[in-house]
């Protein structure tokens, strides 16, 4: 059988300057186990794994393999020791073929250094057959779907005889179906004797697949947990205090529809229709969540509303006024609040103070400006109230916004956008990379804005968040609107829709395979009454990966 390997991290500490990313972390990965590292974004999981993989040198501590200490000077050493890693952002060269990517760094060569890709192709087919991966060695990476690219990454590790496979947030980029397939692959790998270190903050997946769970918080191990532990228990370990996983959301009271998008098409510089003939409306006092896998036109849709794209066809009407063709400034003045998906890139100017960031869209208006002069006192005063109102954790409003943590930065962006009367509120990825405590707060603010009678559009690639917030859910796929379904639609139905299956088909598909189907769309009594949770209560059927809709999609 395969040689198995016991991996031990002992007292690993990693400092970046004064920042302690890992603080005396001890983890033991037993052979043939799926060991989960659970922790919030920024808890230090990835740093730890980069230490293990030889990308960082630990400040203190040692790595033991089969009880013998080892030092890794680079990923090469780690690979030689039988450690493989699948990074959150794939490490694949897009213009290379699968075979070239797999060969890279561990090339078999004929005399004279000539590549022997046939040998690599053979190995890929072998592994591909063993695990049912269905990967063509000669396909170009850039032509492959994300799920298949991930398998290429796994093959890359297996070709190098990895005995321990590190998967860093592997489900972040996947549809729910892909995710379930991946969990299946992980179990298969385990049965073939490969240990897996699974890094995640998604409790549902962690509980579904792990043998052992180590919880990391602020760079420290706070304990181990059993996969049978309840989600509440795991969540409070992860966050460090009891968290309320349910959002108390009153049922929506939609009023008249004031925001309407008709036949909207956005053409990218490449000539591609990134948003393709989309029509929908949002009523006042309603949250429409746009779901979909990253890169299916959501970003462009929100940017088109704001006026950031030049090649836009169709119409966007807010309160009877056409927004297409207006400048960004005009759109903002029409009462659109916009939280961009990348706060550090588009939401804030990191080197500006928090106070300045809070008035970026109103720097030229009273009371902050008069003619050509600005009033710094008013700006600071405004900052004080906003900081208090939004509970931004900072000693002073005059600090640079870039010094804040992710959650607090997001609060600043949100505070700016919500601090003026709005006629439409758009938030893209409102809680990406934000700690659970802040998520709670931000979600409450979004719901409060809805209850003010503002139409709200949320774009999120996190299905949990969509289910949590939405009054209605629109699913985008390749720039097209797959359908709009009511809140309370099952996770598996949404998953299928995110893969391009129409709403009706998805419903029948899911209903046919599950004895107890998800609530039927419009008839659902009061979707908002079902308490949404963090992570949302998964339909029990999804927890059995080999049955049901997902299992049937294996080749």
């Amino acid at each position: 059988m395969v040689r198995v390997l016991k991996l031990e991290l002992k007292g690993i500490t990693k400092r970046f300057g004064s920042l302690v990313a890992n603080d005396h972390i001890d983890v033991v990965v037993e052979p043939g186990q799926i060991h989960c590292l659970l922790g919030e974004n920024g808890a230090g999981k990835s740093t730890l794994m980069n230490v293990l993989y030889g990308l960082y040198e630990p400040t203190e501590g040692e790595i033991l393999i089969d009880d013998k200490p080892v030092t890794f000077r680079g990923p090469g050493d780690a690979m030689a020791a039988g450690i493989g890693m699948v990074h959150q952002h794939f490490m694949l060269v897009p213009v290379f073929t699968v075979a070239e990517n797999v060969a890279l760094g561990a090339e078999t060569t004929k005399t004279g250094g000539f590549l022997d890709l046939d040998d690599t192709r053979r190995k890929i087919r072998e592994i591909s057959d063993r695990y049912g991966f269905d990967v063509d060695p000669d396909a170009l990476i850039e032509d492959l779907p994300v799920g298949v690219q991930q398998r290429v990454e796994i093959i890359k590790a297996l070709v190098r005889d990895a005995k321990v496979l590190i998967l860093d947030e592997p489900t972040a980029v996947l549809t729910p179906q892909d995710t379930d397939e991946l969990l299946d692959i992980m179990r298969q790998l385990k049965s073939h004797g490969t240990s897996i270190v699974f890094i995640s903050h998604k409790l549902r997946e962690v509980k579904a697949v792990s043998d052992t769970i180590t919880v990391i918080r602020r760079g420290k191990v706070v304990g181990t947990a059993d996969p049978d532990a309840s989600t509440t228990e795991l969540a409070s370990m992860m966050v460090g205090r009891a968290v309320s996983l349910t959002l108390d959301k009153a049922p929506a009271k939609p009023q008249e529809t004031t925001f309407e998008v008709k036949d909207l098409t956005v053409i990218a510089p490449s000539g591609q229709h990134v948003v393709d003939g989309i029509s929908f409306g949002i009523a006042r006092g309603e949250i429409l969540a746009i779901a979909g896998v990253q890169g299916n036109g959501q970003t462009e849709l929100t940017e088109a509303v704001l006026g950031l794209h030049s090649r836009v066809h169709g119409s966007i009407v807010l309160d009877g006024e056409e927004l297409v063709g207006r400048s960004v400034k005009e759109v903002l003045n029409a009462g659109v609040g916009f939280v961009p998906e990348d706060r550090s890139l588009d939401g804030l100017i990191g080197t500006f103070s928090i106070a300045e960031n809070l008035i970026l869209d109103r720097y030229d208006q009273a009371p902050f400006a008069k003619g050509i002069s600005m009033s710094p006192a008013k700006v600071l005063e405004n900052a004080k109230t906003r900081i208090e109102e939004f509970d931004v954790r900072t000693p002073s409003g005059s600090l640079a916004a870039g010094t804040l943590s992710g959650g607090n930065q997001q609060k600043v962006v949100m505070a700016r956008e919500l601090s003026r009367p709005l006629r439409l509120f758009i938030a893209s990825q409102p809680t990406r990379g934000v700690d659970v405590g802040s998520i709670e707060f931000l979600h409450k603010r979004i719901v409060a804005e809805r209850d003010n009678g503002t139409p709200v559009m949320i774009v999120s690639t996190e299905l949990d968040e969509v289910i949590e917030l939405a009054d209605r859910i629109a699913v985008l796929y390749k720039g097209k609107l797959v359908g709009i379904v009511p809140a309370g639609t099952g996770r598996d139905v949404l998953g299928l829709m995110m893969a391009g299956v129409s709403a009706e088909e998805a419903l029948t598909d899911a209903a046919g395979k599950h004895p107890a189907p998800a609530p039927a769309p419009e008839s659902a009594e009061n979707p908002a009454d079902t308490p949404a949770t963090y992570p949302a209560p998964a339909a029990p059927s999804v927890q059995e990966p080999s049955s049901g809709a997902v299992g049937d999609h294996h080749d």
Binding site: N50, L55, Y56, G74, P75, G76, M79, M85, H87, F90, M91, L92, V93, P94, V95, F96, E100, A103, L104, G105, E107, T109, G112, G113, F114, L115, S128, D134, V135, D136, D138, A139, L140, D143, L144, P145, V146, G147, V148, K156, L174, T175, D178, S270, G271, Q272, H273, D276, V293, Q294, G295, N296, K478, L496, A499, G500, V501, D552, H553, D555
Partner: protein
């Protein structure tokens, strides 16, 4: 999608998560450009074409069999060829309009060839002495292309590894100067050749050091290096070389090695088998670098470093070391190209002898899509335009010589502007790699 290796029928969700990114749009750019050129050709080469005949000599005196010269009626062939051009352009337009397809790959190539032939007939037919030697034209093109080919190979080596090399001009110039100086001092042009490679490599090492180790903007370092080398060689030329040209600036030429029999084949004989060492080295370099880049382990790693350095790093490849040595090697190659100016073309150094060919080489590299063979042919195109310009001026054309002198640069601008299709540089080209 190509993942369907084993299962013919695939459930929909499987292949469905590609973000909407794959299909490249078909644009009007190419068909419209072709149409405009075809109309220009029809008006000038056809309707306004000269009435005489154009004579193209094929063989030169020493060939071991003689081919008769080609004589064509200028007006008639101008008409015929420009009508062909109109047809090709029309076909491309129809394809786009009716079926939204891009023209087949051969079409722009055939179009270019026909256009160039029509242009030649037009120019020669209207000249005072309507006769040129085709063999001479081609041989001259290759000669003029030699430094450009070496320069563009240097660019390919650097940029494939992810370092933008604007300093090709400086590397050529450094090579030219050092070759002249060392060959003069040692009385051995081969020593000059070797020294040129070292000089080019040294210029490159400065580029590598600053852009890789100190992460200075690569374009700025490159530009600064060009100015530095130009100033330095200019200074040394006027202070050292001109003080005693006999001693410091008379390198002597590399001999032309004539391979018997083969060199007497008409047209291709002289360009392939009657070259200096530098000329032969050029062919060798193109082929060797192509094979090395695309068929060997080394090449795979170099390309990975240029495309996705982080991926390469996670596989244990030393990104910055690879870049450093590639840039150095590129400099050596460009240095050899520089020696052509002082050891083959002329036998002395003058200020700015490279005359901007380093920049043309950069254009050739882009036009050749970062591929050694592509760059070779692109460089030939520039050499051809350069040579045509001088020949046509000699035989006396109706076109003012200043306009003809613009030809190589016009070709450069149009070629790089993407007439031949948008080319795609290595993804990490010009982006320094700093470990997290």
């Amino acid at each position: 999608m190509s993942t369907t290796a084993t299962s013919p029928v695939k459930p929909q969700p499987e292949e469905s998560h590609t973000p909407a990114q794959s299909a490249k749009p078909v644009t009007w750019k190419l068909p419209v450009t072709l149409a405009v050129l075809a109309v220009v050709a029809f008006i000038f080469f056809g309707l306004l074409g000269p009435q005489g005949t154009a004579k193209f000599g094929v063989s030169s005196g020493g060939d071991f069999f003689q081919l008769p010269a080609i004589e064509v009626p200028a007006f008639l062939s101008g008409m015929v060829l420009s009508v062909i051009l109109l047809g090709l352009a029309g076909y491309a337009l129809v394809l786009k309009a009716n079926r939204n397809q891009r023209p087949p790959r051969w079409l722009p190539v055939v179009f270019t060839v026909v256009f160039v032939v029509a242009f030649l007939i037009w120019v020669v037919g209207g000249a005072r002495t309507p006769s040129i030697s085709l063999a001479g034209l081609i041989a001259g093109s290759v000669t003029l292309a030699v430094p450009i080919v070496f320069g563009s190979l240097s660019g390919v080596l650097c940029e494939r590894a992810g370092v933008v090399n604007i300093a090709i001009e400086g590397q050529l110039l450094g090579g030219a100067f050092t070759a002249a100086l060392v060959a003069s001092l040692t009385h051995n042009p081969y020593a000059g050749l070797l020294a040129a490679a070292v000089a080019g490599a040294l210029v490159s090492m400065v580029l590598a050091l600053f852009s890789i180790k100190y992460v200075v903007n690569q374009i700025i370092v490159g530009v600064v290096l060009n100015v530095l080398v130009s100033g330095l060689t200019g200074f040394l030329f006027s202070t050292v070389m001109q003080s005693d040209p006999e001693k410091y600036n008379s390198p002597g030429r590399l001999p032309i090695i004539d391979i018997p029999v083969l060199s007497s084949i008409p047209v291709i004989g002289p360009i392939l088998f009657k070259q200096s060492v530098v000329g032969y080295l050029m062919y060798v370099a193109v082929i060797v670098i192509w094979i090395a880049l695309f068929k060997t382990k080394w090449g795979l790693r170099v390309r990975a470093v240029g495309e996705h350095p982080q991926a390469a790093d996670t596989l244990g490849i030393k990104v910055n070391a690879t870049r450093f040595w590639n840039v150095t090697l590129g400099g050596a190659v460009a240095g050899i190209g520089g020696s052509f100016f002082t050891l083959v073309a002329i036998d002395s150094f003058t200020k700015e002898i490279s005359g901007g060919r380093g920049f043309i080489a950069l254009a050739a590299m882009i036009l050749g899509r970062w591929n050694p063979i592509g760059a070779f042919f692109a460089a030939l195109l520039f050499g051809f335009a350069d040579n045509l310009q001088s020949i046509v001026t000699i035989i006396g054309t109706p076109v003012p010589s200043q306009f003809m002198a613009m030809l190589p640069y016009l070709v450069t601008v149009f070629a790089v502007a993407g007439l031949v299709g948008r080319s795609r540089p290595p993804a990490a080209d010009g982006i320094p790699y700093v470990k997290g």
